[in-house]
Protein backbone atom coordinates (compact mmCIF):
# COMPACT_ATOMS: atom_id res chain seq x y z
CA UNK A 1 0.00 0.00 0.00
CA UNK A 2 1.44 3.40 -0.95
CA UNK A 3 1.77 6.30 1.43
CA UNK A 4 -0.84 8.28 -0.44
CA UNK A 5 -3.35 5.41 -0.31
CA UNK A 6 -2.78 5.20 3.42
CA UNK A 7 -3.19 8.94 3.73
CA UNK A 8 -6.45 8.76 1.77
CA UNK A 9 -7.69 6.01 4.13
CA UNK A 10 -6.65 8.10 7.08
CA UNK A 11 -8.58 11.02 5.69
CA UNK A 12 -11.70 8.87 5.55
CA UNK A 13 -11.36 8.26 9.30
CA UNK A 14 -9.42 4.98 9.44
CA UNK A 15 -7.48 5.40 12.71
CA UNK A 16 -5.64 2.09 12.25
CA UNK A 17 -3.71 3.58 9.36
CA UNK A 18 -2.50 6.35 11.62
CA UNK A 19 -0.72 3.89 13.90
CA UNK A 20 0.95 2.34 10.84
CA UNK A 21 2.09 5.76 9.66
CA UNK A 22 3.53 6.56 13.11
CA UNK A 23 5.66 3.45 12.81
CA UNK A 24 6.72 4.20 9.26
CA UNK A 25 7.83 7.76 9.95
CA UNK A 26 9.15 7.26 13.48
CA UNK A 27 12.86 7.70 12.77
CA UNK A 28 12.62 10.34 10.08
CA UNK A 29 10.20 12.57 11.95
CA UNK A 30 12.06 12.16 15.22
CA UNK A 31 15.39 12.97 13.54
CA UNK A 32 13.93 16.08 11.91
CA UNK A 33 12.49 17.34 15.20
CA UNK A 34 15.66 16.52 17.08
CA UNK A 35 17.71 18.54 14.61
CA UNK A 36 15.37 21.48 15.14
CA UNK A 37 15.06 21.48 18.91
CA UNK A 38 18.28 19.63 19.87
CA UNK A 39 16.75 18.12 23.04
CA UNK A 40 15.53 14.49 22.82
CA UNK A 41 12.76 14.96 25.39
CA UNK A 42 11.38 17.99 23.52
CA UNK A 43 11.66 16.15 20.22
CA UNK A 44 9.62 13.29 21.72
CA UNK A 45 6.91 15.69 22.94
CA UNK A 46 6.73 17.37 19.58
CA UNK A 47 6.63 13.99 17.85
CA UNK A 48 3.49 13.08 19.80
CA UNK A 49 1.94 16.50 19.30
CA UNK A 50 2.59 16.24 15.56
CA UNK A 51 0.61 13.01 15.27
CA UNK A 52 -2.22 14.35 17.40
CA UNK A 53 -2.36 17.41 15.15
CA UNK A 54 -2.33 15.13 12.09
CA UNK A 55 -5.31 13.24 13.48
CA UNK A 56 -7.19 16.47 14.22
CA UNK A 57 -6.48 18.15 10.93
CA UNK A 58 -6.43 15.25 8.49
CA UNK A 59 -9.64 16.51 6.90
CA UNK A 60 -7.69 19.53 5.64
CA UNK A 61 -5.06 17.38 3.94
CA UNK A 62 -5.27 17.45 0.17
CA UNK A 63 -4.57 13.89 -1.10
CA UNK A 64 -3.28 15.29 -4.41
CA UNK A 65 -0.28 16.68 -2.55
CA UNK A 66 2.56 14.79 -0.90
CA UNK A 67 1.66 13.40 2.52
CA UNK A 68 5.28 13.63 3.62
CA UNK A 69 5.41 17.32 2.81
CA UNK A 70 2.22 17.92 4.76
CA UNK A 71 3.40 15.85 7.74
CA UNK A 72 6.71 17.66 7.98
CA UNK A 73 4.97 21.01 7.58
CA UNK A 74 2.79 20.16 10.60
CA UNK A 75 5.92 19.19 12.56
CA UNK A 76 7.72 22.33 11.40
CA UNK A 77 4.89 24.60 12.59
CA UNK A 78 4.75 22.94 15.99
CA UNK A 79 8.52 23.10 16.43
CA UNK A 80 8.67 26.74 15.38
CA UNK A 81 5.84 27.63 17.78
CA UNK A 82 7.69 25.84 20.56
CA UNK A 83 11.01 27.53 19.77
CA UNK A 84 9.40 30.96 19.55
CA UNK A 85 7.97 30.49 23.01
CA UNK A 86 11.21 29.11 24.47
CA UNK A 87 14.23 30.58 22.70
CA UNK A 88 13.70 33.24 20.07
CA UNK A 89 16.47 32.88 17.49
CA UNK A 90 17.45 35.26 14.73
CA UNK A 91 19.99 35.46 11.96
CA UNK A 92 22.10 37.86 13.99
CA UNK A 93 22.03 35.96 17.22
CA UNK A 94 25.65 35.55 18.41
CA UNK A 95 27.12 32.08 18.23
CA UNK A 96 29.05 30.55 21.12
CA UNK A 97 32.20 31.85 19.38
CA UNK A 98 30.90 35.43 19.58
CA UNK A 99 30.35 35.78 15.83
CA UNK A 100 27.01 36.09 14.12
CA UNK A 101 25.68 33.89 11.33
CA UNK A 102 25.68 36.91 9.05
CA UNK A 103 29.44 37.33 9.61
CA UNK A 104 29.97 33.71 8.79
CA UNK A 105 28.02 33.79 5.57
CA UNK A 106 29.84 36.88 4.33
CA UNK A 107 33.31 35.31 4.38
CA UNK A 108 34.46 31.92 3.06
CA UNK A 109 37.47 29.68 3.30
CA UNK A 110 38.04 27.10 0.62
CA UNK A 111 40.22 24.05 1.05
CA UNK A 112 41.02 22.10 4.21
CA UNK A 113 37.68 20.42 3.80
CA UNK A 114 39.17 17.27 2.35
CA UNK A 115 40.69 16.62 5.74
CA UNK A 116 37.22 15.97 6.99
CA UNK A 117 37.06 12.79 5.00
CA UNK A 118 39.76 11.32 7.18
CA UNK A 119 38.96 12.81 10.59
CA UNK A 120 35.89 11.98 12.62
CA UNK A 121 33.87 13.40 9.83
CA UNK A 122 30.38 12.62 10.98
CA UNK A 123 30.95 13.83 14.53
CA UNK A 124 32.47 17.09 13.41
CA UNK A 125 29.82 17.74 10.80
CA UNK A 126 27.07 17.02 13.27
CA UNK A 127 28.59 19.39 15.78
CA UNK A 128 28.93 22.07 13.13
CA UNK A 129 25.33 21.59 11.99
CA UNK A 130 24.13 22.01 15.56
CA UNK A 131 25.91 25.37 15.70
CA UNK A 132 23.99 26.71 12.72
CA UNK A 133 21.00 28.89 13.31
CA UNK A 134 17.59 27.22 13.18
CA UNK A 135 16.61 28.14 9.61
CA UNK A 136 19.93 26.92 8.20
CA UNK A 137 19.88 23.76 10.27
CA UNK A 138 16.39 22.95 9.11
CA UNK A 139 16.96 23.41 5.40
CA UNK A 140 20.10 21.26 5.56
CA UNK A 141 18.26 18.48 7.39
CA UNK A 142 15.38 18.53 4.93
CA UNK A 143 17.67 18.41 1.91
CA UNK A 144 20.41 16.03 2.97
CA UNK A 145 18.84 13.84 5.64
CA UNK A 146 15.22 13.76 4.51
CA UNK A 147 16.33 13.98 0.87
CA UNK A 148 13.44 16.23 -0.01
CA UNK A 149 13.19 17.98 -3.34
CA UNK A 150 13.13 21.75 -3.65
CA UNK A 151 9.32 21.80 -4.07
CA UNK A 152 8.79 19.65 -0.97
CA UNK A 153 11.08 21.79 1.16
CA UNK A 154 9.22 24.87 -0.04
CA UNK A 155 5.94 23.27 1.09
CA UNK A 156 7.29 22.31 4.50
CA UNK A 157 8.78 25.73 5.16
CA UNK A 158 5.96 27.63 3.42
CA UNK A 159 8.54 29.63 1.47
CA UNK A 160 9.05 30.40 -2.23
CA UNK A 161 11.48 28.04 -3.97
CA UNK A 162 13.92 30.87 -4.65
CA UNK A 163 14.12 31.65 -0.94
CA UNK A 164 14.73 27.99 -0.15
CA UNK A 165 17.65 27.91 -2.60
CA UNK A 166 19.16 31.08 -1.16
CA UNK A 167 18.78 29.76 2.36
CA UNK A 168 20.41 26.45 1.48
CA UNK A 169 23.28 28.23 -0.24
CA UNK A 170 23.89 30.44 2.81
CA UNK A 171 23.52 27.50 5.16
CA UNK A 172 26.16 25.49 3.30
CA UNK A 173 28.54 28.43 3.26
CA UNK A 174 28.07 28.99 6.99
CA UNK A 175 28.52 25.28 7.68
CA UNK A 176 31.68 25.13 5.64
CA UNK A 177 33.16 28.04 7.51
CA UNK A 178 32.32 26.55 10.90
CA UNK A 179 33.92 23.27 9.81
CA UNK A 180 37.03 25.01 8.53
CA UNK A 181 37.39 26.76 11.88
CA UNK A 182 36.93 23.54 13.79
CA UNK A 183 39.62 21.85 11.74
CA UNK A 184 41.90 24.83 12.24
CA UNK A 185 41.38 24.64 16.01
CA UNK A 186 41.96 20.89 15.90
CA UNK A 187 45.27 21.37 14.09
CA UNK A 188 46.72 23.96 16.50
CA UNK A 189 48.76 22.26 19.22
Amino acid sequence: MTIDTEAARLRSGDAEVLTQLVERYQHRLYRYLLRLVSRPSTAEDLFQQTWLRVMERIKYYDPRRSFEGWLFAVAHNLAIDYLRRRQPESLDEPLPSGETQSDLTRSGTPGALELLLYKERAGLVLEAVSELQLGFREVITLRFEEEMKLEEIAIVLALPMGTVKTRLHRALKALRLILAKKIEIGKTP
Partner: protein, 153 residues
Protein backbone atom coordinates in the same frame (compact mmCIF):
# COMPACT_ATOMS: atom_id res chain seq x y z
CA UNK B 1 35.62 36.04 -15.82
CA UNK B 2 32.13 37.16 -14.82
CA UNK B 3 30.82 33.71 -15.77
CA UNK B 4 33.46 32.16 -13.49
CA UNK B 5 32.13 34.01 -10.42
CA UNK B 6 28.51 33.30 -11.30
CA UNK B 7 29.28 29.59 -11.60
CA UNK B 8 31.33 29.60 -8.40
CA UNK B 9 28.29 30.85 -6.55
CA UNK B 10 26.22 27.99 -7.95
CA UNK B 11 28.61 25.23 -6.94
CA UNK B 12 27.20 24.66 -3.47
CA UNK B 13 23.69 24.22 -4.87
CA UNK B 14 25.05 22.04 -7.67
CA UNK B 15 26.59 19.72 -5.07
CA UNK B 16 23.27 19.73 -3.23
CA UNK B 17 21.47 18.75 -6.45
CA UNK B 18 19.25 21.81 -6.29
CA UNK B 19 19.91 23.44 -9.66
CA UNK B 20 17.55 23.70 -12.60
CA UNK B 21 18.62 21.51 -15.54
CA UNK B 22 19.70 24.57 -17.52
CA UNK B 23 21.83 25.87 -14.63
CA UNK B 24 23.29 22.41 -14.12
CA UNK B 25 24.32 22.24 -17.79
CA UNK B 26 25.99 25.62 -17.45
CA UNK B 27 27.91 24.46 -14.40
CA UNK B 28 28.96 21.20 -16.06
CA UNK B 29 30.19 23.07 -19.10
CA UNK B 30 32.25 25.46 -16.97
CA UNK B 31 33.72 22.69 -14.83
CA UNK B 32 35.15 21.08 -17.94
CA UNK B 33 37.45 24.06 -18.47
CA UNK B 34 38.05 25.51 -14.99
CA UNK B 35 40.33 23.58 -12.68
CA UNK B 36 39.83 25.94 -9.71
CA UNK B 37 36.06 25.48 -9.86
CA UNK B 38 36.50 21.72 -10.17
CA UNK B 39 38.46 21.72 -6.90
CA UNK B 40 35.86 23.94 -5.28
CA UNK B 41 33.07 21.70 -6.53
CA UNK B 42 34.95 18.70 -5.10
CA UNK B 43 34.98 20.36 -1.68
CA UNK B 44 31.24 21.07 -1.83
CA UNK B 45 30.57 17.50 -2.94
CA UNK B 46 32.56 16.19 0.02
CA UNK B 47 30.51 18.32 2.36
CA UNK B 48 27.25 17.19 0.75
CA UNK B 49 28.40 13.56 1.05
CA UNK B 50 29.26 14.05 4.72
CA UNK B 51 25.81 15.53 5.37
CA UNK B 52 24.09 12.61 3.67
CA UNK B 53 26.03 10.17 5.81
CA UNK B 54 25.20 11.76 9.14
CA UNK B 55 24.14 9.14 11.69
CA UNK B 56 20.38 8.88 12.06
CA UNK B 57 19.22 9.20 15.66
CA UNK B 58 16.77 6.39 16.34
CA UNK B 59 13.43 7.20 17.91
CA UNK B 60 13.15 5.42 21.28
CA UNK B 61 11.01 2.26 20.83
CA UNK B 62 8.65 3.36 23.62
CA UNK B 63 7.93 6.60 21.73
CA UNK B 64 6.00 4.85 18.97
CA UNK B 65 4.10 2.72 21.46
CA UNK B 66 3.22 5.75 23.62
CA UNK B 67 2.19 7.80 20.61
CA UNK B 68 -0.03 5.03 19.31
CA UNK B 69 -1.71 4.73 22.72
CA UNK B 70 -2.26 8.47 22.88
CA UNK B 71 -3.80 8.41 19.43
CA UNK B 72 -6.11 5.52 20.30
CA UNK B 73 -7.15 7.34 23.46
CA UNK B 74 -7.71 10.60 21.60
CA UNK B 75 -9.76 8.79 18.95
CA UNK B 76 -11.84 7.10 21.67
CA UNK B 77 -12.28 10.40 23.47
CA UNK B 78 -13.41 12.04 20.27
CA UNK B 79 -15.82 9.13 19.78
CA UNK B 80 -17.02 9.61 23.32
CA UNK B 81 -17.76 13.28 22.63
CA UNK B 82 -19.83 12.26 19.63
CA UNK B 83 -21.59 9.57 21.63
CA UNK B 84 -22.58 12.23 24.18
CA UNK B 85 -24.12 14.33 21.44
CA UNK B 86 -25.81 11.19 20.11
CA UNK B 87 -27.23 10.42 23.54
CA UNK B 88 -28.57 13.96 23.96
CA UNK B 89 -30.28 13.65 20.57
CA UNK B 90 -31.80 10.29 21.57
CA UNK B 91 -33.20 11.75 24.79
CA UNK B 92 -34.73 14.63 22.92
CA UNK B 93 -36.20 12.27 20.36
CA UNK B 94 -37.74 10.00 23.00
CA UNK B 95 -39.23 12.99 24.78
CA UNK B 96 -40.79 14.16 21.54
CA UNK B 97 -42.15 10.65 20.91
CA UNK B 98 -43.65 10.71 24.42
CA UNK B 99 -45.41 13.97 23.65
CA UNK B 100 -46.59 12.65 20.29
CA UNK B 101 -48.05 9.50 21.84
CA UNK B 102 -49.79 11.49 24.53
CA UNK B 103 -52.94 11.73 22.37
CA UNK B 104 -53.12 7.91 22.11
CA UNK B 105 -52.49 7.57 25.81
CA UNK B 106 -55.26 10.13 26.36
CA UNK B 107 -57.78 7.50 25.22
CA UNK B 108 -56.65 5.23 28.03
CA UNK B 109 -56.36 8.03 30.56
CA UNK B 110 -60.02 8.15 31.53
CA UNK B 111 -60.51 4.39 32.29
CA UNK B 112 -57.16 4.32 34.14
CA UNK B 113 -58.05 7.47 36.10
CA UNK B 114 -61.41 5.95 37.02
CA UNK B 115 -59.74 2.72 38.08
CA UNK B 116 -57.15 4.59 40.21
CA UNK B 117 -59.74 7.12 41.34
CA UNK B 118 -57.53 10.04 40.26
CA UNK B 119 -58.07 13.06 37.94
CA UNK B 120 -57.17 12.19 34.29
CA UNK B 121 -54.73 15.15 34.10
CA UNK B 122 -52.66 13.67 36.91
CA UNK B 123 -52.42 10.37 35.04
CA UNK B 124 -51.22 12.21 31.88
CA UNK B 125 -48.59 14.18 33.79
CA UNK B 126 -47.45 11.01 35.57
CA UNK B 127 -47.12 9.23 32.20
CA UNK B 128 -44.90 12.02 30.81
CA UNK B 129 -42.88 12.30 34.02
CA UNK B 130 -42.17 8.58 34.33
CA UNK B 131 -41.26 8.20 30.64
CA UNK B 132 -38.96 11.21 30.60
CA UNK B 133 -37.28 10.17 33.82
CA UNK B 134 -36.74 6.61 32.57
CA UNK B 135 -35.19 7.93 29.34
CA UNK B 136 -32.85 10.30 31.17
CA UNK B 137 -31.81 7.51 33.55
CA UNK B 138 -31.06 5.12 30.67
CA UNK B 139 -29.05 7.77 28.84
CA UNK B 140 -27.09 8.62 32.00
CA UNK B 141 -26.16 4.98 32.57
CA UNK B 142 -25.14 4.53 28.94
CA UNK B 143 -23.02 7.71 29.09
CA UNK B 144 -21.29 6.51 32.25
CA UNK B 145 -20.52 3.20 30.59
CA UNK B 146 -19.00 5.00 27.55
CA UNK B 147 -16.83 7.18 29.79
CA UNK B 148 -15.52 4.15 31.69
CA UNK B 149 -14.75 2.41 28.40
CA UNK B 150 -12.77 5.42 27.16
CA UNK B 151 -10.78 5.56 30.40
CA UNK B 152 -9.73 1.93 30.23
CA UNK B 153 -8.21 2.31 26.74
Amino acid sequence: MKEHFIIRDLLSLAAAGMLEPSEQRRVDEHLRHCEACRAEFGAWTSLAGALKELPTPQAPPRLVFQTQRILVYAAAHRGYRWSRIGLACLILFSWLVTLATLACVGLLEIPVARWLDMPSTTVGVAYIGVTWLATALAAGLLGKHCRQEARTL
